[in-house]
């Protein structure tokens, strides 16, 4: 058993499957959906997809440098700029989930009574309760900043704390300081360290979070697996992917909704 593991580790894997690399956001990986999709992709398309898990900002940089074959992220404006700059031939919407506002269970800012996402944020700003921002140029961070802009309130002051970290680290920080935080639903549901925290606001269409697939321009260098990226895209918009994505549940809740157009 040990010897076998050792051999597996030391010898280069003689895999028949084609390998490709995809940069994905932390929220996608933390949700656990990748563990459902990757084995199915390997079985049905013979593609061994290696995930490089980073924030949206870094994922797009990896694509720009041609270090990955495809990117799966959630920041529409940045994605469109990426396509416009010629780094990807097109952008394909795959699925969405949504953002939720999480905070201390006793809800000092009264988010539970808010009727919209902007009102919820305005309540946090008025009460000056600590708010943890990702502050890392990720898709979630960009979404949060867009929401603040919609409130017309500048997110500034002692209570506003950009941590410059991934979703999980930001959630850990928020738990530690009893702060509010904007999280994607998937990361929140899959998160283990939820002591004293509760989901306090959800459901506003403004919190819609679209994921899109961008195959990296194969012309960047000879090593980009353009064919593999195209095959993966075909699979991601297939009925099989739809049933897996829509059927994925954490704690009985559906996390992602498939909305690709075929």
């Amino acid at each position: 058993m040990l010897l076998r593991a050792l051999l597996l580790c030391l010898l280069p894997l003689a895999a028949a499957a084609e390998t490709m690399r995809m940069a994905v956001t932390t929220s996608f990986e933390n949700s656990g959906l990748s563990e459902v999709l990757l084995p199915a992709i390997a079985a049905e398309t013979d593609l061994d997809v290696e995930l490089v898990v980073v924030g949206t900002g870094q994922a797009l940089r990896l694509g720009e440098a041609g270090d990955v074959d495809a990117v799966l992220v959630h920041a529409r404006t940045a994605e469109e700029a990426f396509v416009a700059a010629g780094h990807a031939p097109h952008r394909r919407e795959i699925m969405y989930n949504d953002f939720v506002l999480v905070g201390p269970a006793d809800d000092p800012a009264g988010l539970a009574e808010a009727t919209s996402a902007t009102e919820a944020l305005a309540r946090i700003a008025a009460a000056e309760v600590p708010f943890v921002s990702r502050g890392d140029d990720s898709g979630t961070h960009k979404a949060e900043l867009a929401l603040w802009e919609a409130t017309g309130l500048p997110p500034e002051g002692e209570w506003y704390r950009p941590v410059g970290a991934g979703m999980g680290a930001a959630l850990n920080t928020a738990v530690g300081m009893g702060a509010y935080v904007l999280s994607d639903r998937a990361s929140w549901l899959a998160f283990g360290n939820t002591e004293g925290m509760a989901l306090l606001f959800q459901g506003d269409p403004a919190l819609f979070n679209q994921y899109a697939y961008l195959p990296v321009d194969p012309g960047k260098n000879d090593d980009i697996a353009g064919d593999a990226a195209a095959r993966l895209e075909d699979w991601l918009v297939s009925e099989r992917a739809q049933s897996l994505i829509d059927g994925y549940r954490v704690s009985g809740e559906q996390l992602f909704t498939f909305n690709a157009t075929r």
Binding site: D67, N193, D223
Partner: protein
């Protein structure tokens, strides 16, 4: 406190059940770090010896620089190695990014100054003892360095273990150049960072305990092999 105890339980569970993924990432951690350590020793030990026996004008500046490089922030090393190995960088054609080889390169850069610096300090003291003897025997510079390396091997073990310790626990650089890819470049430290991010503290602590255990085993084993700290063989 609860998480720490749960972490201990988790560590035991992973070890007792010989968790396949645990074995895989542990072996990969060892393979990457030991390879980096061997390379760092091949460069660093002779360099330390050379700095001890050779007198030249910039010697003090070189040694001061070497000591400063011990503090190189791993994340900066990772970023620079990433930029060099990126397909759009100068060594992109080698296609090494997101492979264990890239992680080894980053770790070599991080630990070589440490190994060289500790080796130099140990051999400098030894050299002041051996100086007259070796000079009177008309030993060549290579022979002098070799003598210091052989007779100072126990102090050099400390240098190697310090390098091992820094490399095995390193996460900033290998996260960037390795990518923490499941089944390809995931090692103990990047797995710990991942589980912490997922809020799975018990698993993260469990993996951390295994990492510490691994460092202990390597240290004990190397001391045993070199028969240090035994009566009569100070």
């Amino acid at each position: 406190m609860g998480d720490l105890l749960a972490g201990l339980g988790e560590a035991l569970r992973l070890i007792v059940t010989l968790d396949a993924e645990l074995i895989e990432i542990t072996l990969r951690s060892l393979r990457v770090t030991l390879t980096a350590l061997v390379i760092a020793c091949v460069i660093g030990l002779p360099l330390g010896g050379w700095l001890a026996v050779r007198r030249f004008r910039l010697r003090r500046a070189v040694i001061a620089t070497l000591n400063a490089l011990i503090g190189l922030p791993p994340v900066v090393v990772g970023l620079v190695v990433y930029l060099l190995l990126s397909r759009s960088g100068p060594f992109g054609v080698l296609n090494l990014l997101f492979t264990p080889t890239a992680m080894i390169i980053a770790q070599v850069v991080i630990i070589t100054p440490l190994v060289a610096s500790i080796a130099h300090q140990a051999m400098r003291d030894l050299w002041s003892e051996y100086h007259d003897l070796l000079i009177s025997m008309n030993a060549t510079r290579g022979q002098r360095i070799l003598t210091l390396l052989v007779d100072g091997r126990r102090a050099l073990l400390t240098a190697a273990l310090a390098g091992f310790g820094r490399a095995i626990g390193e996460v900033g650089a290998i996260m960037i150049v390795g990518g923490n890819i499941d089944g390809a470049t995931r090692v103990l430290t990047t797995a710990i960072a991942l589980e912490t991010g997922r809020g799975q503290f018990a698993l993260a602590v469990g993996l951390g305990l295994i990492l510490i255990g691994l460092a202990l085993v390597v240290s004990w084993a190397s001391h045993w092999v070199l028969r240090t700290e035994r009566q009569g063989t100070w």
